[in-house]
Amino acid sequence: MLIYILKRIIMIIPVLIGLSLLLFVISRLLPGDPVGLAAGPRATLEQIEALRVEFGLDKSLPVQYFNYIAGLLSGDWGASLITRRPVLDDLRIYLPATLELVVFSMTLSVIIGVPLGILSAVRPGGRLDVVVRIASLASLSMPRFFLGLMLQLFFAMLLAWFPLGGRFPFIVFPPPNVTGFMTIDSLVAGDIQAFGLSLKHLALPSIAMALSPMATILQLTRASTIETLNQDYVKTARAMGLSQRLILFKYVLKNSLSATLTMTALFVGWALSGTVLVETIFDWPGIGLYATHSVISQDFMPILGVSIVIGLIFIIINLIADLLYGMLNPKVQYK
């Protein structure tokens, strides 16, 4: 088991090298002139050239790539062409905000998706099942940005129940930074008012993010519960006269939820891509908004940084999901 984990961790290194190479090659396809753009319209040729030297863009591509990899390993992820701030520092600020949003919305989608999935699995083809299935397909088709806009329109602009965007009001002092999670930080500081404020800011973006993973989790729970309900041991339990509730909660869920939980872990990776859209709408200061701003100004180092972080999180989550599956399902053997 331990050897398996070590092997998987070592396997991450070539994958990361490949990923960074792929992204690096794509970024250098750039037909435009990001340096000229960053230097501004009044920059002289010498100034542009100086900027090019400063960012190491005057060297050959293999040298640039080697420098980038060496920097990645030593904690120098390059700097933004526009703000000149180091990418790693920016990521340290923005990543916790995104993670807070992702954790909150995934929790929301599991809390709602799993029970609804079980309910519709109990009577497949029933009225509730049809409604739930159509609703879940509809939520998968709902563009996150449109849902976000409509939530904003109704609950922030018209009803004014929730703030329009952002993470915390500007006019209130935020709690001291401990974990980077606003909600946890305010609880640590014992500031109930700040906790309420940060929850209010989290609500609409989380709902906009949670809807489509919720639908998928619902469908997975439904499918695996139906499959388990049709197995022989469940029929035996029924024949023995056990009540439906006892069968469902004691014998079926344990087996049907292990697959769902594993898949849920995988969705965290996909949820990270949804943050790009949701953060743009709600002005949530996370890596998605950071990436969007950088993409629009063709500022490549931040985009590379964000993509590598997302890739890394995805790989790690994959590993955790595999291990989790093995723990929940003793039949799995590690090689």
């Binding site: 994958v15 794509i26 990436a291 950088s294 985009i303």
Partner: protein, 299 residues
């Protein structure tokens, strides 16, 4: 078995007709399939003839009429007008062509590249397989939205670049799908027999393996159109991809943001159009799956 043989010898067409009838029945009885098919037909009609039936055709091409800005939905302007006085209904109709054509190109090109690479990987195995599949795995690490964002940013704005960026990030999932199918098909007896008859690899792949994979592919592609529409709209929404005055749905929605909450119609109708298009394409795709592959479960 004997009944089947009898049917084949007596009337060669009737099995086909029977299967078609059964498939049609399964399609019709899938929930919401028929209304969704109607919506899809309407969308295809709008994509083909949108500019002709649009009440204010010039608005699609960027005509501006500041005299009639921000008019609420009325009999003259069913969906109201936007900040430039353009008729939102006309823009949505004009946008249907852009979004649907782009989505079809993305899915078809992605499927074509993925199928060819996946078939080669699955059929030849060994070194070719490792190279193709390792690069596929690499591309699948990043969510396709992020990958398309990176490529789109590198290529710059424009509809063609948007399509190219999406095609590049679209093929890996097809590659994996087709490789798996080919791996299982190539061991079957009829392939071994064809090889024993001396057929070349290219003939075996193109004439014997791929036709047997096509059903899975068609179902997957039809369910994927909705995803492609979502992705195109999303990329335009965050500012990569098409630029004004092209009436792409995601872009229309993004431009409408600044006018909320008073002018809700410029945001609502393009958004509803995206939702309806994605929803009905996924339902039709799902119904198609249950029609073509009765063993699969619905939804």
């Amino acid at each position: 078995m004997s009944a089947k043989l009898y049917a084949v010898t007596s009337a060669p067409n009737s099995i086909w007709r029977q299967n078609f009838k059964r498939a049609l029945y399964r399609f019709r009885t899938a929930p919401l399939a028929v209304p969704a098919l109607i919506v899809v037909m309407l969308l295809l009609f709008a994509a083909a003839f949108g500019p002709l039936v649009a009440p204010f055709e010039n608005d699609i091409y960027g005509a501006v009429d500041t005299g009639s800005r921000f008019m609420a939905p009325s009999l003259e302007h069913w969906f109201g007008t936007n900040d430039l006085g353009q008729d939102v209904l006309s823009l949505v109709l004009g946008g249907a062509r852009i979004t649907l054509v782009a989505a079809f190109i993305v899915v078809c090109m992605g499927a074509l590249i993925g199928t060819l690479l996946g078939a080669c990987a699955g059929y030849f195995g060994g070194f070719i397989d490792s190279i193709i599949m390792r690069s596929t795995d690499l591309m699948l690490i990043l969510p396709s939205l992020i990958l398309a964002m990176v490529i789109g940013a590198a290529l710059g704005a424009g509809l063609n670049n948007l399509i190219l960026a999406l095609v590049v990030s679209w093929w890996p999932s097809y590659c994996r799908l087709v490789r798996g199918e080919v791996l299982s098909k190539k061991e079957e007896l009829y392939i071994v027999a064809t090889r024993a008859l001396g057929a070349r690899d290219s003939r075996i792949i193109l004439k014997h393996i791929l036709p047997n994979v096509s059903q899975v592919l068609i179902v997957r592609m039809s369910m994927d159109i909705g995803n492609a529409i979502l992705m195109i709209a999303a990329l335009s929404f965050i500012g990569i991809g098409v630029k004004p005055p092209t009436p792409e749905w995601g872009l229309l929605l993004s431009l409408a943001r600044t006018n909320l909450p008073d002018v809700w119609w410029t945001a609502a109708f393009p958004g509803i159009a995206i939702f309806l298009a994605v929803f009905s394409f996924s339902i039709v795709g799902d119904a198609l799956r249950s029609a073509l592959d009765p063993k699969s479960t619905r939804f």
